[in-house]
Symmetry: C2
Subunit: 289 residues, 2 copies
C-alpha cells in the first residue's frame, strides 16, 4: 500500500474514534463542551496517532490496544496548543485556519478548555491502567513526557527566553527537545512499552530526532510557509527564540537534512518493515503545513 | 487527644511530606520550579489531606498508604486556585495573605505553574497505580472529581454566570457541588476505596454536604471576614453568583446550620470513632479563614 493510502487509513481510523468520543462528551455548561470539541475537531495532520499506529504495525501491536493512548496524547497535544495560543503566551489568533480557542470562547474559557483536555486525557489513561502493568507504564511515560521534566519545562523555557536578543544553542535544544520532541517520543514509545519494551532505545532515539526535525521544519515554514496552507499566521516567530535566529534559514534547512538522515539511519537499524516510517520522515521534511 | 492536637499532628505529617517533595523538585527553568513551590508552600489549612488521614484513621487505613493521594489532591487544589485567580477568571491579587501566583510570576508563568501542578499530581498517581486495582480506582476517582464532570465543570459554570443579575438555585447548587464539593468528596472517599469500599455511600454523602457547608461558610466569610485572617481580599464576590445573592447573609448562615446538622447526622450513622470528624465539621462552621 502506498504511503498516502496507509496514512489515510490510520487517520480515518483515528478520526472516527475521535468523533465517537466527542459525540459522547456531555458536560455542563454547554460552553465547556463546545470549547473542548471545537479545538479537538479543528483537524490537523494527527501525526501523533499516526505514529502510534505505524509503530504498532511495526511491532505487532493492534490499533485497538493503542487507540485510547493515541486519543489521550492528542488531547494533551490539543490542550498545549490552546494554552500556548493564549494572549500571555504566544498570543496566536489562528490555529489550523480557524480562530484560536480564546478568540472564540474568551481567555477564561480557553484556560478551562485546556485544563479540561489535560484532565480528560488522564481519565482515559487511568481506565487503561486496569489492563495491566505495561498499560500503567505507558500511561506514566505519557504523563511524564507532558510534564515538568518534559513539555511544560520546554514551554516555560520558551516563554522565559522569547525576548532574548541572542540564542544559546544549549537552551534552544533544551526547548526543542522538551517542548516538541517529548510529545513525539511518547506516541512512538507506547507500542514498544505495550510489547515488553521491544526496540525501546532505538525508537526513543528515533522519536528524539524526529521531534527535532519537526521543530526545525516548523521554523522554516514560519518563514517560507503560506497562511492558506499552514492555517496560522506566519512570520510570528521573527523575534522569537528559534533555529532561524541561531542558524539562519539555510542553516535550519541543513539541520533538517542532517536530522532526516539520522532518523533514516536509526530506522535502517530496526528489524521489520519500516517503509511507512521512512516515508513518514520524508513527509515531515516536505510538508507545507 | 483533643481536636487541635490531632489536627496539628495530621497537618505536620502532611507538611513534612510536602516539604520533602518540594525539596526534590528540580525542574528547569528555575522560574517554573520556583512558581510551583511558591504556591504549594503558601500554607493554608490543608483540609483535604487532614480529611484523608482522619477518614483513614476511622477505617484503619494508615497514613503511609494515603499520603501520596493527599499530596496529589493538594497539588490539584493548588492548580485550581492559581488558574482561578488569573485576571480573566476571578482576577484575585491575593491568596493566603501573599500575592497570587500571576502577580509574582506573570500570567503566562501562572498558567504553566497550574498546568505543571495538575500534570504532576497525575504523575504521582500513576506511580501509585502499580500497587493494585484499588489504587487505580482511587486515582481515577480523584481525576474524575477534578474533571469536566466535576471541578472544571463547576468552574466553567461559575465563569459563565458571574455577571448574571439573578441567581438560580439549581445553577448555584450545580456550581457549588462541582466546583467545591467534588474535591472535598475525593479526599474523604480515597481511604474507603483503598479499604474495599467500606462506608462508601455514607462517606460520599458526607463529603457532598461538607463541601456545600464549606462553600456557604466561604460566602459568609467573604462578607464578614477580615483580610488579615482570610489572606484574600473580602467583598470580591459582591456581584458574583453566590449564596448571599440568593439567600442573603442570614439565609446563608441558616443554610450552613442545616448543612452542619446533616453532616453530623451522617457521621452518627457511621460505626467507629467519628469524634474528630464531628469536631472537624464544627471547625469548618466556626472558621475565620
Amino acid at each position: 500500500m502506498v504511503f498516502t493510502e496507509k496514512y489515510e487509513e490510520y487517520l480515518n481510523y483515528f478520526n472516527e474514534k475521535l468523533e465517537t468520543y466527542c459525540n459522547k462528551l456531555d458536560c455542563q455548561p454547554k460552553i465547556l463542551n463546545d470549547s473542548i470539541k471545537y479545538s479537538l475537531t479543528l483537524g490537523g495532520k494527527r501525526i501523533r496517532p499516526v505514529l502510534t499506529f505505524a509503530v504498532g504495525d511495526l511491532l505487532g501491536v493492534p490499533k485497538e490496544k493503542l487507540v485510547n493512548f493515541a486519543l489521550a496524547i492528542e488531547l494533551i497535544h490539543t490542550y498545549s496548543l490552546i494554552h500556548d495560543d493564549l494572549p500571555e503566551m504566544d498570543d496566536a489568533d489562528f490555529r489550523r485556519g480557524k480562530p484560536s480557542n480564546h478568540k472564540v470562547f474568551g481567555t477564561g474559557n480557553a484556560v478551562l478548555a485546556g485544563d479540561a483536555l489535560l484532565n480528560t486525557a488522564y481519565s482515559i489513561l487511568f481506565s487503561e491502567c486496569f489492563n495491566g502493568n505495561e498499560y500503567i507504564s505507558a500511561s506514566k511515560f505519557i504523563c511524564d513526557a507532558a510534564g515538568i521534566y518534559g513539555m511544560i519545562g520546554g514551554q516555560s523555557a520558551d516563554l522565559l527566553h522569547e525576548s532574548d536578543n541572542t540564542v544559546d544553542e544549549d537552551v534552544l535544544y533544551f526547548i526543542y527537545s522538551n517542548k516538541t520532541a517529548k510529545l513525539i517520543i511518547a506516541p512512538i514509545i507506547v507500542p514498544s512499552i505495550l510489547n515488553g519494551g521491544k526496540n525501546y532505545s532505538k525508537l526513543k532515539f528515533f522519536g528524539e530526532k524526529l521531534g527535532l526535525l519537526f521543530q526545525f521544519t516548523d521554523d522554516v515554514l514560519d518563514v517560507e510557509g503560506k497562511f492558506e496552507e499552514l492555517g496560522k499566521t506566519t512570520g510570528k516567530d521573527e523575534n522569537k527564540y528559534t533555529g532561524v535566529k541561531l542558524y539562519g534559514l539555510e542553516g535550519c534547512k541543513v539541520k533538517s537534512e542532517l536530522l532526516c538522515d539520522e532518523c533514516l539511519k536509526i530506522l535502517e537499524s530496526i528489524e521489520g518493515d519500516t517503509q511507512f516510517l521512512t516515508e513518514f520522515v520524508n513527509f515531515i521534511v516536505k510538508r507545507t503545513n
